[in-house]
Symmetry: C2
Subunit: 648 residues, 2 copies
């Protein structure tokens, strides 16, 4: 992740804001709300999920410190880490909630109390600190905690056959395994995956032991069936995607083809039936959950920021298992849209739910649904999982740009910057130039390791681009461009010792790279209308605008009230127009039609064939990237735009 | 009300089912659930709203017995009435809840405990019994209760300045006033109207006295402002419309023009901004309430059956105050659609919420929203206000067909049957023939009172009809038809001593009527597409079908799954086709288009300009009257249909 440096016009600014603004703000809020200092017996209260908020911030801070040293932040991190290390019990247990309310109650309610979830986040923070700062105090503590957990849970006599109500520790254990090489952490992750949903249900057994009502089959937490029998994404979306991501890791590490096939089924179910065009998932506020196929309400969309982040994790693992651009396409969709919308440009406010249409007048009067989120971003939440989650994702964003194996470096995203890839033959450096995601021309200059061995650079051909092209400029051969990709002629290789193949949406170029070799990708980036599958009833008769990886939306401050009264003729030209506002972005402009309310003479319903047809007037419609909405004036927003017949 | 006998092909069957099936079923359920016998100190439980359920059933039964004597029903009614009369306290108080849980707590929580609401329903039942059976035992008891209430509440020293949390008693008191001529009942109704929303808020005062949290300004129960300052319909829709209806009565009885103007504002707000095309009101499940202008969600529609009934009451009062067809148009819209959908054809199941689109797969998996109503009608509800409310409305439906003043009988609905109107000059009888609402030809044969004086017959010209016409056939003048209404020539009068005028949407014909005089109305009834006001974002790009007064919908059993994938070209012909099913109805057929899901090659989003356009195929679309839906197989339903461009 530190092998990637951003200098682009999209992420670089966001990541700097994350470091400079968001992390300090979140520290203060963690402190103010009591999350820091939760172990203090005099503190007013404590909540079962607080450790996870602190841990996500610690993880983000560890990444940030690696990229950009900061003494104040370092002191804060060290102090928080010390408070956890010092609080650890002799047997390794470490949880501020149960250490406050009564250690005798620990491990009695995995269903609801987030105990293993918090443990997982602490492990991830400890791993990040160990890797990026070299300090292994926290890691040692968390390995002791992991060992304690491994002793408590498992299939051996006397062990509890439990598993987390909120998955996350599975991801963390794999991380510990990769970092320490200790097989037992992988085994414990695999145990949690395979025990889940087995009969008799553990959540019933522990509820019975507590004397509580039995929760039964918990599809809400993916525990209704053994994981290998699950075919569709069910229940709480964050839990689901964390778990599925960990399942891919387990499958890859153990070469478990059956489990990987389950992951593919779940992936396919999500991305072809249960995902917003923004990469948001979990459409229902009630249960923050996946519902049924093709059910994607816009105004009532939940699409929690954490769930989009979890989908990014899942996508990254699938991509790791199989270099197929469809995974990276979804990862990019979620990052540039569903995730990026989760935080304000100034880094101070956050969405928990990411609606695809907002009608503030209703929300202000009646409330924002089951969880009552207002129309605009908020500074913090009682249950504040999203703000520190977005902070740690941003602080580690480099990890999603590229990946490498022994002989291949693959580029997934095209943000301008520098990538260093450790290959078998040494470190290859790629300098990426261009103005992605605003422009589709990307230039990649190669500095190979000195060894002079062959390796492959694999470049993603984005799914949104209908006719990608690539040319190769060999170092030194001034002015000579070799076409390596042209859809009309497929690939064309005219250079000795260079092989070019398109495999699963990646352009693989293999050669003995020379310093200064350059590839130019041309990814034509025009605004397009997208339609949803006909079974998505909420989007019938509507189109969404996308340009490159960015999904667009209409905002009231550009288009006036009553955005639903605007319709876009099917043949209206879509123009890309630069705006200097909001750090610079490209808007989409079109001549659309607006039904005029004033012409309606105070009736609510009228014959469609006379009155309704007479009252449209042409307007200039302006769309803004969805990730930038709610950074100007509050008001209506709408991603899906009504489409009307061609203007003849 | 007993002056109207139905013999039509719509209501007659429903009213018979109401008498023969619904009333006995409801009696059994009132008994089974403990509502009958609630005064019994040994009964398991009691609820604050139970008296109202019993009272509405008693009221319905009283109407029913007047039309159709039934010894078993009579015995049941007498027994229930006796149980209430016997339970009355010496001071007149009569409420099963407080008489069970502690009489010392009475009148301490008007905000929440439905005490005055229950009193009102008991008064209405007592009034119905007195008028239609001649037994005044119950009326005397309820007048004593009203006198007790008049002593407790008011502006005099020592009185509580309270008013009901749930309006209804206002309507009941006006009824008592009209029946007994006692001015004090009207005065008490007027007091409740005028005290409501005054500062300091009574609901705060009583909460303080109880030591409870202060509820503050209660727009939910229309108590946020004095009624005369209210301009928009706010809060709980049933409460609101009961109250507004009573306000019209108070205004008319006291000739209070200011109050009537307030009622007109509220009426206008509802009918031009906050009413479903079915006449349903109160769009939000949360709070069962009016929300903001033009907010009419379809799948999440609440539109409680009781609220449509309440709107009928409001409409009827407005019509009584001012013979204007716009009031009757809305009354008809609500009766034939929003109300009639509330009960199954067999009279055994009920909707509480009346959605305008239903996607059962989602409801079955995730739940039916805040109040969790399933997709189909239910036999009963814990809070079961709607079933007995629809029973009493049906049993008194005659009251909405016609009305009369000294010299005018006005016909509002055109159900075939007989109407007797008591005019100053005697009883005029009208025999209405035709097949309304399936056909728009209506014949009205007049039998005037013997006196031979002039009077007026006023016939509503329905708002849904673009070119109504009428001809007059004078008794005896065989074969001679006189055009009395033709939009192309306005009205034409060629008969001596007959004046014809169109006033506020009614055709007024004044003459010395002869026995056998006949008017033939011709109300051409073609299927039409209606569009909603452009600010109704939920209906953008969609049309609803209506034929005569009936709103139509698509059902899955006629059109397959994924109703949103169907679109109706703007120029597709709409055909009326008779069906013998469901007691006979007219369906609307059209050649529409359906987007095929199978052609979508497993993607969720695709460019609209290629894939999406290629996959529509023509289908025959069938629509059924909304009031008849959910009487065959369960499945999807949808009122608003996507409209697409003309098929060229």
């Amino acid at each position: 992740m530190t092998q990637v440096k951003f200098s682009d016009n999209f992420w670089a600014e966001r990541l700097e804001t994350n470091r400079e603004v968001t992390l300090p703000i979140e520290y203060k809020l963690l402190k103010k709300t009591g999350r820091l200092g939760a172990f203090n017996p005099k503190a007013a209260t404590v909540h079962e999920y607080w450790d996870s908020d602190v841990a996500k911030w610690l993880e983000a801070a560890a990444y940030s410190l690696a990229v950009s040293p900061d003494k104040l932040l370092q002191r804060r991190v060290d102090a928080v880490v010390s408070s956890y290390v010092n609080a650890q019990l002799p047997d390794g247990y470490l949880n501020s909630y149960y250490q406050r309310i009564g250690i005798d109650k620990r491990w009695s309610n995995l269903h609801s109390m987030h105990e293993l979830y918090c443990a997982g986040h602490l492990m991830e923070a400890a791993a990040a600190r160990a890797v990026y700062s070299g300090e292994d105090d926290f890691l040692q503590a968390l390995c002791r905690y992991a060992d304690h957990i491994a002793a408590v849970f498992g299939t051996a006599r006397g062990q509890k056959r439990g598993y987390p109500g909120h998955p996350e520790i599975e991801l963390a254990l794999i991380r510990l395994y990769k970092l320490t090489g200790e097989q037992r952490y992988l085994d414990l992750a695999a145990y949690f995956v395979d025990e889940r949903g087995q009969l008799p249900y553990y959540f019933n057994a522990e509820a019975k032991a507590r004397g509580d009502r039995l929760p039964g089959a918990c599809a809400y937490m993916q525990a209704h069936l053994p994981m290998r029998k699950q075919k569709s994404a069910e229940g709480h979306a964050v839990r689901a995607c964390y778990l599925y991501a960990a399942m891919v890791d387990v499958a890859v590490e153990r070469d478990d083809k059956e489990l990987l096939a389950v992951c593919r089924d779940l992936w396919r179910n999500i991305t072809t039936r249960r995902m917003y065009i923004t990469g948001g998932v979990g459409s229902s506020q009630v249960g923050e959950r996946f519902t049924v196929d093709y059910d994607l309400p816009n105004e009532d969309a939940y699409a929690e920021t954490c769930a989009a982040i979890a989908l990014v994790f899942f996508a990254q693992r699938m991509l790791n298992a199989d270099l197929d651009s469809s995974y990276a396409d979804t990862m990019e969709r979620a990052l540039y849209n569903g995730v990026a919308a989760g935080v304000s440009r100034d880094g101070t406010k956050f969405f928990y739910a990411n609606r695809l249409a907002v009608y503030p007048e209703l929300i202000e009067k009646v409330g924002g649904g089951y969880h009552n989120y207002p129309a605009s971003r908020q500074k913090w939440f009682d249950c504040s999982c999203c703000p520190p989650n977005i902070a740690r994702l941003y602080a580690s964003l480099g990890a999603y740009v590229a990946s490498s194996s022994a002989k291949t470096v693959a580029l997934h995203l095209y943000a301008a910057g520098r990538v260093s890839a450790h290959l078998e033959c040494g470190t290859a450096k790629l300098a990426i130039e261009g103005d992605y995601p605003w422009d589709g021309t990307v230039s990649i200059t190669v500095t190979p390791p000195p060894a002079g061995e062959k390796f492959t650079i694999a470049l993603r051909l984005p799914g949104w681009c209908r006719n990608p092209a690539a040319t190769f400029h060999a170092a030194g051969s001034a002015g000579t461009a070799y076409t390596v990709l042209d859809l009309s002629i497929k690939t064309s290789v005219k250079l000795a010792d260079t092989t070019v193949r398109v495999i699963k949406g990646y352009l693989h170029i293999t050669r003995c790279w020379q310093a200064g070799d350059k590839i130019e990708l041309n990814l034509p980036m025009e605004p397009v209308r997208l339609a949803a599958h006909p079974s998505v009833r909420q989007n019938a008769g509507q189109v969404a605008l996308q340009r490159g990886p960015l999904v667009y939306c209409l905002e009231e401050c550009d288009n006036g009230k009553d955005l639903a009264a605007i319709s876009l003729p099917a043949n209206a030209e879509l123009h890309s127009v630069k705006s200097a506002a909001l750090g610079g972005y490209i808007m989409i402009k079109a001549t659309a039609k607006r039904k005029s309310a004033t012409a309606w003479s105070n009736t609510l319903y009228a014959p469609a064939d006379d009155q309704a047809k007479l009252i449209t007037k042409p307007i200039t419609m302006q769309a803004i990237p969805y990730c930038l909405w709610d950074n100007r004036k509050p008001g209506e927003m709408r991603v899906w735009i009504n489409e009307t017949e061609r203007t003849l």
